[in-house]
Structures are given as C-alpha cells and as structure tokens.
C-alpha cells in the first residue's frame, strides 16, 4: 500500500513537472499582461502563477481528464478578478508599468482582453467564468481593443506613442 502510494506520488510529480515546464512560460506572460507589469520585473504575476500552479498540483489527482492548463488558467483568472478589486484599484498602489502594452486598461478590461484574444477563450466561456452576460464581455472586449489600438493622447502622451507602432 505504502509502496503504491509512493509510486503514485512519483508519477504525479513527473507528470506535473512536465506540465509546468510546458505551460509556465505562456501562463507567466498571461499573468504579466494581467498585472500590467514589466516583463523582467513581475513579482505579482509570479505570485499569481505560483498560487494557480499550486492549486493545480493539489487537484492533480482529481482532474479526471480535464485539461490542467485550462484549470490553471481558470484559477488564475478568477484569482486575479477577486484580487483586482481591492489590490489594484487603490489610489497610488500598484500602478501599471508604462512598458506594458495593457498599462492603460482597467483590470477587468485587461482580464477580458487576455482571456479572449491572448488565450483565445470563447466569449460564452469567458462570460461564464467571470459571471457576466456575454454581451457585456463583447462590449468590454471591443472597448479594450479600441483603447489598445488607439490610445487617448491627453493623459500621458509620453507613454502611449511608442508602444502602439508594432501593429
């Protein structure tokens, strides 16, 4: 019995390590886009990713054929949505880094934009995940896309100009 348990534990550790090696980079970029931090200085994104992966590790045996990447992404998104309210909304706290392409957007706009466009999650699934109507998700996504492509010039002209060019 004990031997079987250790065998199972070793197999789980191996599978999980392979999953992390494959998925961590992409998920870390998604988390960095969510928190709008600089790519080389992203403590909040790392923390988000660590919590999400730890959650997946704890549920690894109970996934039952569910996609672990999907699960981790869901946890990441809901955790960010929950934390965004009191952590990123405060005055003067956690200001977005100007180097991030999503620095101008609100946390919810970033979340929906990353889920819809970067991760390619369907509109209905995003709506179900965040508890919003699908029309609202579409509206927010279109507005965020417009802000991203044509940033308003007046609030901080130095920030917007340089980053829009690559498209």
């Amino acid at each position: 019995m004990r031997q079987r348990q250790t065998f199972q534990g070793a197999r789980r550790a191996r599978e999980f390590e392979a999953f992390v090696a494959g998925a961590a980079g992409r998920l870390l970029l998604a988390a960095t886009l969510l928190t709008a931090e600089a790519p080389d200085d992203n403590p909040r994104a790392r923390r988000l990713l660590t919590l999400a992966l730890a959650h997946t590790y704890a549920y690894w045996d109970r996934l039952r054929g569910e996609d672990p990447y999907d699960r981790t992404r869901q946890y990441l998104a809901t955790r960010f949505a929950r934390g965004a309210w009191h952590q990123y909304g405060g005055f003067g706290r956690a200001r977005p880094h100007p180097g991030s392409p999503l620095a101008r957007l609100a946390p919810q706009e970033r979340l929906i934009l990353v889920l819809r466009l970067y991760e390619g999650v369907a509109e209905e699934q995003t709506a179900a995940l965040l508890g919003l109507p699908a029309e609202r998700v579409r509206t927010i996504c279109e507005r965020a896309t417009a802000t991203l492509l044509h940033p308003p010039r007046n609030p901080a002209p130095a920030v917007g100009g340089a980053k829009v060019a690559p498209s």
């Binding site: 992390v20 961590a24 870390l28 992966l53 730890a54 590790y57 704890a58 970067y118 991203l148």
Partner: protein, 82 residues
C-alpha cells in the same frame, strides 16, 4: 478596420516573448501545493473522526436511555388488592 482585423492587431500586440520563468518557481509551487494537499487530508480525517465519534456517542446514549421503551405510567395508581 473591421472587428476581425482589429482583434488580430490587438492579438499581435499581446504576443510577446514570454518572460523567463524564475527557477525557484517550481519548488515554491510544490511546497504550496503539498501543504494544501496535507491540510486537505488532515481536514478530511478530522471530519471522519468527528463523524465516528458523534455516531458512537449517539449509539451509547440510545442503548443507555432506550428512548423507544414506553415510559411507566405516571397517572394511574398501582393496581393492588383486587
């Protein structure tokens, strides 16, 4: 630009080189995940223990108090000398 073109342009903006994954991330993930698993196992064991203790206590109480036996009558006087 229609909607699809706008979305494609935004997608190109989002696609970047992924930032380097910190090497200590995996260890931290395992540490946190294992702790969470341990807590969950402990909570499950505690719940089972509580359930067993409660059912045992109920059984002992039921066997000593025998609530299904009809209590002796209080109103009728004892029936003697007839």
């Amino acid at each position: 630009m229609n909607r699809a073109q706008r979305e494609a342009a935004a997608r190109r903006l989002l696609e970047q080189v992924p930032p380097p994954v910190p090497p200590d991330l995996y260890g931290e993930v395992i540490r946190r995940g294992a702790r969470s698993l341990r807590h969950r196992t402990l909570a499950r064991r505690l719940m089972w223990l509580l359930l067993c203790a409660a059912s045992l206590a109920f059984l002992v109480w039921a066997l000593t108090a025998r609530p299904w036996v009809e209590p002796p009558s209080q109103t009728t006087p004892p029936y003697t000398g007839w």
